[in-house]
């Protein structure tokens, strides 16, 4: 599904990813944890193709294609989805028009016929129920006037509508209370399948109680420094990141 090899990238001459490696197979859920500034969000943005980031080295294969060669929209059309840490408010663009345009362009890219209006509305209704997103989407602008929780649920809702092959959740849990967290996690869990993979970026182990990962990786200074199973997240919760940092500095000394 996704293979990242020795990825080096940064922003304005500052290298943030310093040789990042990861391999994600269909159906797997990978959690990426790590302290502030370790490069987690940069990884998410670089994979989604945010223009201000520059890739200096390495390669990323996504479903057999060179991901780094694709425009952000083509990455999305190929099945990559980024749930934003800070979903953007877009005054004047209605949620419905936005989704309709996205679906139309994705289907056109795949050579599929346009979706019937009634099928689209049915899909929207069904997926809104999935994330318990009760706001009226038709007459409201994208994320405008949404609470923090609604914005995050809107991300998961969009993911449910677009049915990506790989979803990257960038700190979707930040700013959520426990109820909203449970709703978001339920939404994600219902979308888990044998051919859909997830990269869940988070600071805290809390989210991983609800979205149980197959693998947990610790990111530090632009690389994965430790990988394990879900137990690693618990260990991190207990000991904090200083433990990893200490372990690393001992390795360097040795």
């Amino acid at each position: 599904m996704l293979t990242i090899k020795n990825l080096k990238a940064g922003i304005a001459d500052k290298e943030i990813l310093k040789g990042f490696n990861l391999s994600v197979k269909p159906g797997e859920v990978h959690a990426i944890m790590g302290p502030n500034g370790s490069g987690k969000s940069t990884l998410a943005n670089v994979l989604a193709g945010k223009p201000e980031y520059t890739v200096t080295d390495g390669e990323v294969l996504f479903a057999g294609k060179d991901l780094l060669d694709l425009s952000p929209e083509d990455r999305a059309r190929e099945g990559l989805f980024l749930a934003f840490q800070y979903p953007v408010e877009i005054p004047g663009v209605s949620n419905i028009n936005f989704l309709k345009t996205a679906i139309a362009e994705i289907r056109q890219y795949k050579g599929l016929p346009p979706m019937e209006a009634k099928d689209f509305l049915k899909l929207v209704k069904e997926k809104q129920a999935l994330v318990e997103l009760q706001v009226t989407l038709a007459n409201r602008s994208v994320n405008e006037g949404f609470s923090g929780g609604e914005k995050k649920r809107n991300e998961i809702f969009q993911m449910a509508v677009l049915e990506p092959a790989l979803a990257i959740l960038d700190e979707t849990d930040s700013g959520l209370d426990i109820d909203a967290l449970r709703i978001v996690a339920n939404g994600v869990n219902k979308l888990r399948s044998d051919n859909r993979s997830f990269i869940v970026i988070t600071h805290y182990q809390r989210l991983l109680e609800y979205i149980v990962p197959d693998f947990v990786h610790v990111m530090y200074e632009g690389r994965i420094v430790k990988s394990g199973t879900k137990e690693l997240a618990l260990e991190l919760e207990e000991k904090g990141y200083d433990w990893i940092k200490k372990e690393l500095s001992q390795q360097v000394e040795a």
């Binding site: 989604a48 193709g49 945010k50 223009p51 201000e52 425009s71 952000p72 929209e73 990455r75 999305a76 059309r77 989805f81 980024l82 934003f84 979903p87 953007v88 408010e89 877009i90 005054p91 004047g92 663009v93 028009n97 936005f98 989704l99 345009t101 996205a102 679906i103 362009e105 994705i106 890219y109 602008s141 994208v142 969009q158 677009l162």
Partner: protein, 442 residues
């Protein structure tokens, strides 16, 4: 003789027009009142001269280039038929059509204003046959002529006056659609003139389109529309500049509002080479409400200057200005919004917002709010911003599979939404939406 020469020299470059204007005045139609007003206006034009570069009101829209050479004042000759007008109509809108060609009312291309109660449509010829006391009272006031050289110029040189009279207690459902057509190809100067008089407790909707049929490469249209909204009346007025080609256009709208009247206007500029929109509202009675909306989308070397003046003279009035502009390539824009609150105009609420989006490094926008407040119990505010397309929003849309071009168009379209949403004639709103969509995805 000596005196006039001296003045003429002083008002260079406008002086190039004077010999033509002198001759023109002797040939134009009109009764004694009209001739008197024209002579008065010519005198005022000589005195005012054309605005020079240092004139603050025309600083960002210098007019010298428009008057380098003399201009002729064409009489209307055309062979247009109703079929030729189809592209300029609003699909799905049933309206009274009024066609003005090179400043002269075309009866054969205009509808009779049948309605209950009857609207009246006059031109100079019919006014000569049936004089109108209302027209005589309101037309060509000194204060108007001396307010601006282009008003004086129009008044000195108009060939015809289109006078629309709405009686008292008339709620006219069907919009009046005015096509202001310029057929000129070269260095002509056309001076269309309209007076709309709305009686008391009436309601009317008017759309005015500016249309260049010929190439209009050097042509200047200096249009003046005077509007009087009677007490308790509501008027919606839409000015659409979409078929202007390379026309240079000075479009002045002068509005007088009586008490408890409501005036709601939109100025939409999508084409044209050089446009100056002067919009002046005189709220000369209590409880007037005024909404001034504007939208312009420019590219290449287009220039659009929106000058608004809201003159609050009496207490308890409200005005709202909402202007949005998108500028690409080497286009330039101006928004100059003046709000004048006179000492008597207590409890005035006056707001102004001007937001602009620059799509190119070479595009430029000058925004100048001018609030002159002489009353102490008022609420007035203004806000303006000029920025680029929101890159974060653009990436968000692209990250959902929407292509860069359509994402840009979506965002630009969204930027115009505030203004479009306030267009109350549905068929017109749909047409404007389509025009903008076409324009943004060209």
């Amino acid at each position: 003789m000596n005196t006039s020469t001296t003045i003429a020299e002083k008002i260079t470059p406008g002086a190039v027009l004077l010999p033509e204007l002198d001759v023109l005045q002797t040939t134009l139609a009109g009764n004694e009142q009209i001739r008197f007003i024209r002579r008065k206006a010519l005198k005022s034009f000589r005195l005012q001269g054309l605005p020079e570069r240092k004139n603050e009101e025309y600083k960002y829209s210098p007019v010298a280039a428009l008057f380098r050479t003399g201009r002729s004042f064409p009489a209307s000759t055309h062979s247009l038929t109703r079929n030729d007008l189809t592209p300029f109509l609003v699909p799905g809108m049933d309206a009274f059509l009024i066609t003005i060609i090179d400043g002269k009312l075309s009866r054969e291309l205009s509808d009779e204003l049948k309605g209950t109660p009857a609207l009246q449509l006059h031109d100079l010829a019919s006014l000569e046959e049936t004089p109108s006391a209302v027209f005589q009272k309101h037309f060509g006031a000194d204060a108007l002529i001396t307010a601006d050289p282009f008003i004086a110029l129009n008044t000195a040189a108009f060939r015809d006056v289109v006078f629309i009279q709405v009686p008292n207690n008339a709620r006219i459902e069907k919009p009046i659609h005015i096509l202001n057509i310029v057929t000129a190809e070269g260095a002509e100067l056309v001076n269309p003139r309209i007076l709309i008089q709305v009686g008391r407790n009436s309601a009317i909707q008017v759309i005015e389109n500016f249309i260049a049929i010929g190439k209009a490469e050097q042509t200047l249209c200096n249009a003046l529309t005077e509007i009087r909204v009677g007490s308790g009346s509501t008027m919606l007025f839409y000015k659409i500049q979409d078929h202007c080609k390379n026309l240079s256009l000075i479009s002045t709208t002068q509005v007088y509002q009586d008490e408890q009247s409501h005036f709601d206007t939109h100025t939409v500029s999508l084409s044209g080479n050089w446009i100056r929109n002067n919009l002046t509202i005189v709220a000369d009675a209590e409880q007037c409400e005024t909404h001034l909306n504007g939208l312009f989308i420019l590219n290449n070397h287009q220039h659009v200057d929106n000058h608004t003046l809201v003159d609050h003279r009496k207490p308890n009035c409200e005005s709202n200005q909402l202007y949005r502009g998108i500028l690409d390539d080497k286009s330039t824009g101006v928004f100059n919004g003046k709000i004048y609150v006179r000492p008597d105009a207590q409890k005035t609420n006056a707001y102004q917002s001007s937001k602009n989006m620059l799509l190119s490094d070479d595009a430029g926008m000058n925004t100048k709010p001018q609030l002159e407040i002489y009353a102490d119990d008022v609420k007035c505010s203004h806000g303006s911003s000029t920025g680029q397309l929101d890159e974060d929003a653009l990436f968000y849309l692209r990250a959902r599979g929407i292509g860069a071009d359509s994402a840009r168009a979506l965002l630009m379209f969204a930027f115009t939404r505030d203004v479009i949403n306030t267009i109350r004639i549905e068929a017109l709103r749909t047409q404007v939406e389509e025009l903008i969509e076409k324009r943004l995805t060209h």
